[in-house]
Amino acid sequence: MNNSELIAVLASILLQASPLMIAVMGETISERAGMINLSLDGTMLLSAMAGFIAAYETGNVWLGFLAAMIVGAFFALIIAFGTINLKQSQVAIGFVLTILGDDLSAFLGQNYTRLPGPTLGRYSVPILRDIPILGDLLFNQNVVFYIAVLLTIFVWWFLNKTQPGLQLRSVGERPEAAFARGVNVNLIRYAYSIAGGALVGFAGAAYSLAIKIGWSEGHTRGIGWIALAIVIFGGWAPIRGAFGAILFGATKTLATVLQSKFPEVSVVAFNAIPWILMIFVLLLVSNEWVEDMILKLPKRFHRPLRKFLRVSPPLALGEEFEKK
């Protein structure tokens, strides 16, 4: 493999990871507010389908994305209403919607399978694209990639540096304390569930309109579950989540390469690599000895390392809040 081939492979890893990053950001903000949207797999299928049809019928990709975001937001709205107002389990509703989204996408999209439609293309950033290596890797990419990167940075900034982001996190950690500070807990949960759902919808359409163009039954099946896993793997933090998505893409590519080298081994075995790796990393990070190791290092490294390595879910994840 020569240099340009390597760059092409790396660029493709980044591109493949982009929609996953977007879905991970959506689920991250939702879960940081305490709301589990388990329906990701169904939402993405349905929005991939809806996005494709809308773009196909109107000839405008952005209307396709808009339709997909509405679908995603709508599913998230159902979960928010069902859990906040009707006091049902987030997991139960999410799970049912997963199946519903899958079946509904197959049914509604059956007349639109394997058709050519409008797509979101590549955009070269002037000047920056001429940087050697990095230019080809980062600045001569599909628009979805830029959106994913900017979104990741934005979500990180929003969560960590702004008052609304702080309020978002507070309702996911300790809603009763957030309420005591004057935060409208359920309104915030509604808002970020819906925003998160819309992003997941966008991610679904990113497949059918940019990455894996077109629509066919089960077009993105499995991706939603992967995104859910990466949110956990990323420790509910945007930057780590984005790395998780890229790492996942890289191991997937690695699996493809290995498979061509060892054709006698089953494909399934290679597909398991990313998962095994993830479980391994999670075990490593949650282990006690990480803390021991951190404590052996000079004191000024303790906090940043702990922040980077230790993972804990939002304390009130999946819990309902009721004003007493």
């Binding site: 540096k161 702004t162 008052q163 609304p164 702080l166 309020q167 996190r169 507070s170 950690e173 300790r174 009763e176 304390a177 957030a178 309420f179 005591a180 500070r181 004057g182 935060v183 906090r303 804990s312 939002p314 304390l315 007493k324």
Partner: protein, 487 residues
């Protein structure tokens, strides 16, 4: 600032948490609100701080009636409450915690927050590492931080709910010093909610005593402990006559028992309880009596000493083994620890049975459950779920599941929330078991019950056990002294 509480009422179903409470608070004073658990202190303070709203009655702030729809509104009006478990955000760092909800600006201004927190902490003599995350702090530090936040928001009336539970003696001193300063130098109103007499005596100028949702008395403090104890518990009833049934043999022997939790520790207590004897444990809630019961039941790990039941050391036995060996425990949380919400009475009976078949014979189980329901006069069906029963019937049903005979019964608040009839019935059941040689050790927040039902009484105070007194020879003065920690 002047706060007037007028005829505040708050009912939860049949429970009158606050039943027409009146009092006034003036600037520059430290007030104590005293009362046993369930007396209505917390409810009243939550109403005052805006966390709950009253059913009726008024709160006047400088002669203006106010009604808060949230704690944030309360704080905006100058009333701040520090909860026993501070309402902060453990994964956040100190500045994030401080800034949350503070301003409408999008951007968080960490550097000015850092200055404000440091300045206030300095002013009150607290040490904070402003980069730290809340979950690395001790409870005392979290309280200090929350106080700083409330002060920064302009709180003029500060309510502290049991602030000294779980903090070190040094932190307590620091807290008290800063509270005095806030009251006497800065003319704020400080309200200390507590069931610890010595703290109220040490810190406050004036104490209000609540009992069963009513203000039953008030006093300038310091004053004699007995006076407060009498207000808290009411006067003692005359003991009813009954046959003592104490045998000569020892059933339970405790030797130099040591148990430590982060809240409180028992450091070396010894006593014996004979067969057929009833030992009552008195004391303010959380003084160590619960820890003792749980240690005997095998629910709390012990750090030293011996627990001997009927001549056998049971230190190494786990809860289930002790249960097999006829040591029964009933906690005060009936639906939390005793019964299983959502499961029927028949299902409970099957679970509690001494022997289990793999396939359940439901018909037979139901017949047995019905006969228990009859014998124990439980109002409910064999198909009712545990949570459908009233408190008294839950308690009766739990008694019906105890095996016979038992060597030792350990009880927490055996009749809490029950009416007189159920209470008497439950004690009759307990007394009946004494003829089998069963020893009974119980704690109760109701001092009347301890005096009336026990053969002997041990009083706990701050983890220490008093000498054991005979129930028919003691009086309220003596118990008041012991509860207050004086021999």
């Amino acid at each position: 600032m002047r706060v007037e509480i007028k005829e505040i009422k708050k009912y939860f179903g049949d429970v009158r948490a606050n039943d027409g409470i009146n009092f006034q608070l003036e600037s520059g004073n430290i007030y104590g609100i005293l009362g046993e658990n369930g007396a209505g202190k917390s409810t009243l303070m939550k109403i005052l701080s805006g966390y709950q709203s009253q059913d009726s009655g008024d709160i006047l702030l400088d002669d203006k009636a106010i009604l808060f729809d949230s704690p944030a509104a309360g704080l905006f009006a100058g009333i701040g409450m520090l909860y026993q478990d501070p309402l902060d955000f453990p994964p956040f760092n100190i500045l994030e915690n401080y800034l949350l909800g503070k301003s409408k600006n999008i951007n968080l201004n960490f550097s000015s927050a850092a200055k404000q927190v440091s300045a206030l902490a300095d002013q009150y003599g607290f040490e904070v590492d402003i980069k730290a995350e809340i979950n690395t702090l001790s409870l005392g530090e979290r309280q200090q931080l929350e106080l700083v936040r409330l002060l920064a928001e302009g709180a003029q009336l500060l309510i502290l709910d049991e602030p000294t539970t779980g903090i070190s003696a040094e932190q307590k001193e620091q807290l008290f010093t800063s509270m005095r300063r806030m009251a006497y130098d800065e003319k704020k109103i400080i309200v200390l909610v507590s069931h610890k007499l010595d703290e109220i005596q040490e810190l406050c100028d004036h104490a209000f005593v609540l009992r069963k949702g009513k203000l039953v008395g008030q006093s300038e403090v310091p004053c004699p402990n007995e006076r407060l104890v009498e207000m808290m518990f009411g006067s003692l009833p005359t003991r009813r006559e009954r046959h003592p049934s104490v045998h000569d043999e020892v059933m339970l022997e405790i030797k130099d028992l040591k148990v430590a939790t982060y809240r409180i520790q028992i450091d070396g207590i010894s006593f014996t309880v004979n067969k057929g004897e009833v030992l009552g444990l008195a004391g303010l809630e959380g003084s160590g009596q619960g820890l003792l019961l749980r240690a005997c039941a095998g629910l709390e790990e012990i750090d030293g000493g011996e627990i001997i039941v009927d001549g056998e050391i049971i230190n190494d036995q786990e809860y289930h083994q002790r249960r097999e060996n006829d040591v029964a425990f009933m906690g005060s949380g009936r639906l939390e620890e005793g019964l299983i919400t959502g499961m029927t009475l028949t299902e409970h009976m099957v679970l509690a049975a001494e022997e289990h078949d793999f396939v359940i014979n439901w018909k037979q189980a139901e017949v047995e459950t019905k006969s228990k329901i009859n014998t124990y006069q439980v109002i409910g069906q064999s198909s009712s779920t545990a949570d459908q029963l009233s408190g008294g019937n839950q308690q009766r049903f739990m008694f019906s599941m105890l095996r016979t005979p038992l060597k030792l019964i350990l009880l927490e608040n055996p009749t809490r929330g029950l009416d007189v009839r159920s209470t008497n019935w439950i004690w009759e059941q307990l007394y009946e078991r004494r003829s089998d040689g069963t020893a009974i050790v119980f704690l109760s927040a109701d001092l009347d019950e301890v005096v009336d039902r026990s053969d002997r009484i041990a009083v706990f105070s701050g983890g220490k056990m008093s000498r054991i007194v005979n129930a028919n020879e003691t009086n309220v003065d003596e118990l008041g002294h012991l509860i207050g920690g004086q021999e």
